[in-house]
Homo-oligomer: 151 residues x 2
DNA sequence: TTTGTTGCAAAACGTTTGCAGCCTC
DNA sequence: GAGGCTGCAAACGTTTTGCAACAAA
């Protein structure tokens, strides 16, 4: 039972945040949070929107609004990656990892490296309060490397 | 005279790339490359477009087209950062550095850390050919940290 | 001469905003 | 009951695209 990151706990974190900031605890906000925490992997606003239509109907505007709040209380992080749409990812229950991004096809793979993690986390600044970090390694995935040889 | 990265060399790299890919060597492409390499710092497509109007008139479409080519031959890199416009940066003649990004106001500061650099560069993958990497540390800059206390 | 490239304008795309009605507090 | 929140649709800003004219090969 290593489930410290069960949805109950996450929900409490969000509730606490909403209270502190005097934001309202609307069903939409919890529905979005729940959907995010019950699913795996990266997502963008539209993917989330489409996926949610089945169980709980929310507008895209509300999705964007809520993602903003979740970012603010660090329950999710935003990944720029390469494409034109912002990718999000939940923070709790995820092991810390880094990203390999193929410059050609945009495919994203995750990897984990303890040494890199430790080295980065050791860093701190007097005039900047670090909350999180992202490391992206760019290059060519095998598939694109092979295709490239032809052109 | 440590100018291995003078514009002449860069220009040759680009020429070689254009020939290899059988792309045409148009004056616009060289004008854009030259402008990028003769100026410092990050830029986005529109900034480059506006800046170039004075010396050489190119359309935004051509700017985007050429940036694509320059990315492809690794003469520039693309930074997603946080905002809605992609930021670019030349690769040669720049010391390797990392970025501090303020989640609140979007301010970007550069820093350099040899240990981090070495650790990351030691990494390699069998099925992925790394061309470059980006490390972003996110958090609150001093200015925003102070403002936040109020709300 | 051929065909890739340019410039322009229009279109597309993700995201934000204005506003009327709703619902949390 | 008041005011923040929602949904909708329209607006926005960045990037992409279609097409005719142009110019590199």
């Amino acid at each position: 039972m290593r489930e410290d990151n069960s949805y109950e706990v996450i929900r409490d974190v969000f509730t606490e945040y909403l209270i502190k900031k005097q934001h309202r605890k609307t069903p939409e906000r919890y529905a979005i949070l729940e959907h995010i925490y019950l699913h795996e992997g990266h997502f963008d606003a539209e993917l989330l929107y489409n996926a949610m239509q089945k169980d709980y109907r929310v507008s895209l505007a509300t999705i964007y609004n809520t993602l903003e709040l979740l970012l603010d209380c660090s329950l999710i992080v935003k990944h720029p990656f390469v494409g034109q749409t912002a990718q999000f990812e939940k923070t709790f229950g995820n092991s810390i990892h880094h990203h390999l991004v193929c410059s050609k096809c945009g495919a994203v793979k995750e990897f984990s490296d303890k040494k890199i993690r430790t080295t980065i986390q050791a860093k701190n600044f007097a005039s900047f309060e670090i909350t999180h970090y992202s490391l992206y390694l760019y290059g060519l995935c095998n598939k694109c490397k092979n295709e490239r040889k032809k052109s």
